[in-house]
C-alpha cells in the first residue's frame, strides 16, 4: 500500500508536476518575470498579442491540417475496416498495416520530400517519360500553399494506426454479430455501416482521435520539411520565436506556447468528459 502511494506521488510529479512547472515557467516568461532580458513584471507581451496577425494564420493553418489529415485518415480507415473486413484479416494485410508505424515522422517527411519534390523521383520519371517539359514543371506537391505534402505525410502515418484501432474496436464491440442481427431485421450493409458500425467505432475511438489530432497540431518535423514558411504551423511559429537570435522575442514565444497548451488541455478535458457521458 505504502509502495503504491509513493509510486503514485512520483508518477504525479513526473506526469503532472513537471509539465505544470514548465507551464508556470512559460507564464513567468510571458509577463517578463524570468528570462535573459527580464526587467520585472510587464503586461506588454500580453497586450501585443492581438497585433500578432501571423499567429492567427498559424492557428488556422494548424487546425486545418489537424482536422483534414485526421478526417481523411479516419475515412480511409473506416472504409477499410467496414468494407474490406474479411480481406484485412488475411495475410499479408495485418502485417502490412504495421509497416508505416515503424517509420518515425521525420523519415516519412524525408521520403516524401525525395519522392514528390520538384527534382524528386516522380518528377524525374515524369520528365523521362516526356509527360512534363522540365523537372521543374512537376506539380507542387510539397511546400505548396494548401499543405498537401504535410497532409499526405500525416494521413500516411495515421491511417494504418486508425485501421488497427478500428479493427480491434470492431472485434471488441462484436460488430460482426450486430451486422448479422441488423441483416435479419432487413437493414442493408450501407445502413448498418452508417447507422450502427461507424457511430460505435467513432465514439469509442474519439479520445484517441482527439489526442492524435493534438499531436498533429503540434508536429514539428513534417511541416518543417514539407511546409512553407508562410503559413506556418504553430509548432514552427513558436520554435522560430524561441530559437532565433532575437532574445526580445522569447516572451512572446513562451506566451503563445502557454496559451496553446492551455487550449489543448481544455480540448482534451472536454473530449474525455463528452465520451464518458456518451459512452457506448
Amino acid at each position: 500500500m505504502k509502495q503504491r502511494s509513493l509510486l503514485l506521488w512520483l508518477y504525479a510529479l513526473l506526469v503532472v508536476g513537471l509539465p505544470l512547472a514548465g507551464l508556470f515557467n512559460a507564464f513567468l516568461y510571458s509577463v517578463g518575470l524570468v528570462g535573459p532580458l527580464s526587467v520585472g513584471f510587464t503586461p506588454r507581451y500580453w497586450q501585443q498579442l492581438p497585433g500578432e496577425t501571423s499567429l492567427l494564420t498559424s492557428l488556422g493553418f494548424s487546425l486545418y491540417v489537424a482536422v483534414v489529415s485526421v478526417g481523411l485518415a479516419v475515412i480511409l480507415a473506416l472504409v477499410l475496416v467496414l468494407r474490406y473486413q474479411t480481406t484485412l484479416r488475411h495475410w499479408p494485410f495485418p502485417t502490412l498495416l504495421y509497416v508505416p508505424l515503424l517509420f518515425p515522422s521525420l523519415v516519412m517527411a524525408f521520403y516524401l520530400f525525395q519522392l514528390l519534390g520538384g527534382s524528386g523521383w516522380l518528377a524525374r520519371m515524369a520528365y523521362q517519360l516526356h509527360l512534363i517539359q522540365s523537372p521543374a514543371g512537376f506539380p507542387e506537391l510539397i511546400q505548396d500553399g494548401a499543405g498537401l505534402g504535410i497532409l499526405l505525410a500525416q494521413v500516411g502515418l495515421a491511417f494504418p494506426f486508425f485501421t488497427l484501432l478500428f479493427q480491434s474496436l470492431y472485434a471488441d464491440a462484436r460488430l460482426d454479430e450486430l451486422r448479422n442481427l441488423t441483416r435479419t431485421l432487413g437493414a442493408s450493409s450501407w445502413q448498418f455501416n452508417r447507422r450502427v458500425a461507424a457511430p460505435i467505432l467513432l465514439r469509442r475511438a474519439a479520445p484517441t482521435l482527439v489526442l492524435y489530432g493534438v499531436a498533429v497540431l503540434g508536429a514539428y518535423d513534417i511541416p518543417l520539411l514539407l511546409g512553407r514558411n508562410y503559413p506556418q504551423m504553430l509548432s514552427l511559429y513558436i520554435t522560430t520565436k524561441l530559437q532565433r537570435f532575437d532574445l526580445t522575442e522569447l516572451p512572446m514565444g513562451y506566451l503563445v506556447g502557454f496559451l496553446v497548451t492551455l487550449v489543448l488541455m481544455a480540448v482534451i478535458y472536454a473530449t474525455t468528459r463528452w465520451t464518458q457521458r456518451h459512452a457506448l
Partner: protein, 408 residues
Amino acid sequence: MFTMNLVRVILFLSLLCTACSTNEQRDPATVLNQSWDQIDERGRNQPVVLLMWLGDPYINDYMNKYVKPTVKERFGIDLQISGGQGAQIVQTLVAEREAGQPSQIDMVWINGETFYQLRQIDGLLGPVTDRMPNARYVDFSNPFIGVDFQQPVNGMEVPWGNVQLAFIYDSQRISQPPRSFAELPAYIKAHPGQFTIPNEFTGMTVLKSWMIALSGDPKLFQGKFREDVYEKWSGEVFRQINELKPYFWKRGETFPEQLSTLHQLFANGEVAFTFSNNDAEVDNKVNLGFFPKTARAYVPAPGTIQNTHYMGIIRTGQHPEAAMVVANFLMSPEAQLKKMDPNVWGDHTVLAINKLPADYQTKFNNLPTRRYAPKRDLIQGLAFQEPAPEYMVRLYKDFRTKVIENNK
C-alpha cells in the same frame, strides 16, 4: 501516511538537488589572476564540456579524430562535445543562473550574434586571450578578427577561424554566373525558378551583403546600428526581392528554412545557386560527393561579409582553466594548419602568417590548394566587415513580414 510519503518525496528531491549543487563554481577574478603556467597546470586532467554546431561531418571529424585525442594525450583533458548553438546556449546559461547553479558548459563555439547575446547576459569569462601564449600569432588589429559584428572583442573570445560568404553554382549548368550584386536581378529574371535565399543565418548574411553592396558605401554599416541606414537600404533590398519574387524558386511563395535544405535542392539540380558562410565549403562538399565536381564558389562584386568565429569560455563554467588550455590549443599553429587543409575542413586560419615561426610559414604556404573555392588572396579585397548585430535581428523579422508574408 500522507505526511510520510510527502517527506519521502521531499527527501528524494532534496537529494537530487544536493547532487546537482555539489558542483563547484569558480571565482572569475581568481581564475584570471593566474599566470599561464598556473592555468596550464590547473587545467590538466580535467573534463571540458564544449557546445558546438555539429552539422558538418568534416568539422565533426576534425574535432573527434584530431582535437579530442590530442588534448587527451597532451593535457589529459577529456573534451566532451555536445550539440548546441546560438540562443540555445544563452537560454541554458540563463536557466542555470536562475537555478543558482554553476554551468555544465565550459566552452562554446560562437559567432558575433551569440557573442552579442552572451555579452548582454555577462556570460563570458574574460579577457582571456592576453593569458594565452598562442594569441601572439594573432593580429588583433585586423578588423576582421579584433572586431566581431562591430563589437570590439577585447579578449572576451578566442579567434578560431575566418570565413567569407560565397555563392556556389554548378559550372556545368551555368557558364556565366552574375559577377556582381548589380547583375543579380537581371540574371534572376532571365533564369526563373533557379534562385532563392534561405531564411536562416547564411541567408541573412546574403541580405546584409546585398544591402551593403546596394548602398555603395560599406562604411555606413560600421559602428553602432543606425536606424536610418537600415531603413533605407533594407527597404531597397526588400523592394528588389519583392519585384523579383515571381522569378524566385517556387515564385518566392516559400523560402528554404535551413541551409541544408537549400544545399539539397542545389545538389538535386532544382536550384542553380546555394551559399556558404565558409568560402572553402564547396571543396569539402565536393569531396564528400554531396555537390557535383562541377560546383564552384565565388564572391560577387563589390563583396560579401567576412567574419571570424570564436571560442567563448563560460564565466560560470566549472573548468575554466582546462577550457582555456583547449582554446589555446585550437589557436595553435599546429591545430590551425590542420584545420585549414581543404581535405580536413578548409577553415581559413586566424593566425597572421607573417607572425609565425619560419617553418610554419612554409607549411601554411604549402597547404593543398582549394580546388573549387576561390583563392583567399583573390577575395580579400572583396570583404565587408560584419555590421552590428541589430542589423541581423531586424533583417530576420522584416524578411518574414515584408517578404515572406507579403503576398501582394
